[in-house]
Symmetry: C2
């Protein structure tokens, strides 16, 4: 196991109706003038926004509003948010939504207390300072509610990049599984895929002797495999949604990823897809991951076999572990299909002729040095080959 620091100081409030205490938590973490940041109409339609505003009013907390966050959140709205923070002297950013809204809120919170262009952070500058951020999560997926990360799409060129830093870990996150009971099935499935992807990115490692984090990741994947079909069949299943929601946070606050090299090439490969075709991040990952696994199995077939046996319940072929590894990948494909995820370029709306351009961008875009991935170092030829496995 490698040396590491683990620091997850977010105050997690989990359960039914907890959003009605938002004002109390904003106050606890020092907010007096709040920017409420959200996406489309659903938080308005469901009455969630009204409940949050009522809770702020109850504590005498002022607020301004900025809606309009889209999936794969854009840089333009971040600039608008930063301006609004300056003009209105905002001291707290409250995200009401999913990963896109939270990531946009983090970008605004960092940019609001920074003299330069906020995009500097998305080109590698660590975020050490930001306005405090609170979140009210409406979909289990990105894990942004417990992470120090944010991903934004630059509208000037349409490419996605991530930023990171302790400064943007949420001060508090309210996780009410009931808020996810009315989501469309497709969105739920995208979220489930994203959670599983966060676990795979950590699972595939070159670090030996990491049994404790292996077992934690496997435990979270087993949870997802049990609960996913239940929420796809009946999104109103509170208990299943609750298990998925906590798994989603644990999958990405890094408690199960510490002390080990992680991969993250699949996320880079997917980010090209969702930036170019504006597909859902989870749907993109559903297409990328089986291809990435098939291509990279050769680097550590035993690790793929271990995943197949422990998580997918495959029988170990002791003489031919590659057969077990393949059975695991087949099980993953079957699982993703069963929850309604796409399995190839066509279903995503992606095009073969863009492969070379995307492979270049994934490996060289925005300061990258020609390879991506921690488990397997992939160059643009590897990435193009992986894209072709998705045809």
């Amino acid at each position: 196991m490698n040396n590491f620091v683990f620091y997850s100081p977010t105050y997690f409030v989990f359960g039914k109706e907890q959003e009605n205490n938002t004002g109390k938590y904003v106050k606890r973490f020092g907010g007096s003038k709040v920017l409420i940041h959200f996406g489309g109409g659903s938080v308005v339609r469901t009455g969630l926004l009204d409940r949050v505003k009522a809770s702020l009013k109850e504590e005498g907390i002022e607020y301004v509003e900025l809606g309009g966050v889209k999936p794969n959140p854009r840089s333009g709205l971040v600039y608008t948010g930063i301006e609004l923070c300056h003009k209105e002297k905002v001291d707290f950013v409250l995200a009401v939504g999913g990963g896109s809204t939270i990531d946009s809120s983090k970008a605004i919170a960092a940019g609001a207390v920074y003299d330069g262009d906020f995009w500097d952070f998305y080109q590698g500058k660590a975020i050490t300072k930001a306005l405090p951020v609170g979140t009210i999560l409406t979909i289990s997926a990105a894990g942004s509610e417990g992470s120090p990360d944010s991903v934004i799409t630059n509208e000037n060129g349409m490419y996605k990049r991530g930023a990171s830093g302790e400064g943007i870990r949420p001060a508090f996150s309210i996780l009410n599984p009931a808020l996810t009971q009315t989501l469309p099935t497709y969105q739920i499935a995208c979220g489930i895929t994203d959670i599983c992807a966060h676990l795979f990115e950590r699972y595939f490692t070159t670090t030996s002797e990491v049994e404790v984090t292996d077992r934690l990741i496997e435990g979270l994947l087993l949870t997802m495999i049990k609960e996913a079909p239940r929420v796809i069949e009946a999104p109103e299943h509170y208990e299943a949604q609750a298990n998925i929601m906590w798994a989603g946070m644990m999958a990405h606050n890094n408690s199960c990823g510490v002390g080990r090299v992680q991969d993250w090439a699949s996320h880079d490969i997917e980010h090209e897809l969702s930036a170019v075709y504006d597909c859902a991040h989870g749907a993109g990952l559903a297409v990328v991951f089986p291809a990435w696994m098939t291509y990279n199995m050769k680097h550590d077939v035993n690790r793929f076999a271990q995943l197949a046996v422990r998580v997918w319940g495959c029988q170990m072929d002791f003489n031919h572990p590659e057969n077990t590894a393949k059975a695991g990948i087949a099980a993953l494909k079957h699982f993703l299909k069963s929850i309604g995820m796409p399995s190839n370029f066509a279903e995503l709306g992606a095009k073969e002729e863009d492969i070379e351009k995307m492979a270049q961008s994934a490996c060289f875009g925005n300061g990258r040095q020609g390879t991506i991935g921690g488990f397997a170092k992939l160059n643009d030829k590897d990435v193009a080959a992986i894209y072709r496995l998705m045809l």
Copy 2:
């Protein structure tokens, strides 16, 4: 799943030689005059104390020292520590040792900023305020490095009681597995048992639909089962010690225990044993847990069977799940014996004639209302029957 709050803001620094950065972390968390609290000679003998002091000096941080913490830490030394804090104007308590030293440090830190008797906290008063505490962990066991809990033995009557509160969560904890490589095998085995016990206490619940925390607990238990024999055979095995150390923290910071009723009767039952006979807490738990399980299996035989199948690899007897449940308990007994733990009263030095008195104390002592345990409510007759299963 029940509603819950999860808050674990401790800054964990994990890995080789990290204790040499102690001064830096004390400074980060506001310490300028430190009480270094420790146990016996081993931290002196191994040179650990000198390295810690050198690190404090490097940052210009003053300190005073208080050694002498014993296993099952006593109230007397806590009073001494509180006085020392007042006299020397200490603003930070640094625990260098295991669970006993950390628990004693937490008690001192809380008592130092409280006008009344610190024992009030061990009679149910929540600890909301304390001096910041830092820890340098020397044995994987109690999980106190990541918990808001402390257990102290009152010398006036020799009984153990726990206190809890966000105020005593460590500000930082330094976890260097190399510090555990020189421990005697018996102490390592006691620590392993304590970690497993923290997981069992959370596993046995009356809350339904808690797959995510079930799976996390099982993952940590599977880690312990893999790594325990390796460190018992060769305590110098860094990687195995590292996996156990992170599992020990995760077992008790409650990330795997949230949203579910927990039990904790076995800890209450054991506390009587270690208070009366001064046996090691882990050794006591090794005797208590199989007896507690045997007695309480009837309350939810499927849960015991699930543990047996998922953790101990037992075959499910679908027509007679109680057989599977029993096989799991037998596997636990075998595991504990294999790492050198005692299995009965005689090996602990405990006496049959004390059973009634201990059962009374466990159920009625210090303000308790006659029953203990969240999974199964046990009265003094139940507890006495459990003690008799240990004969």
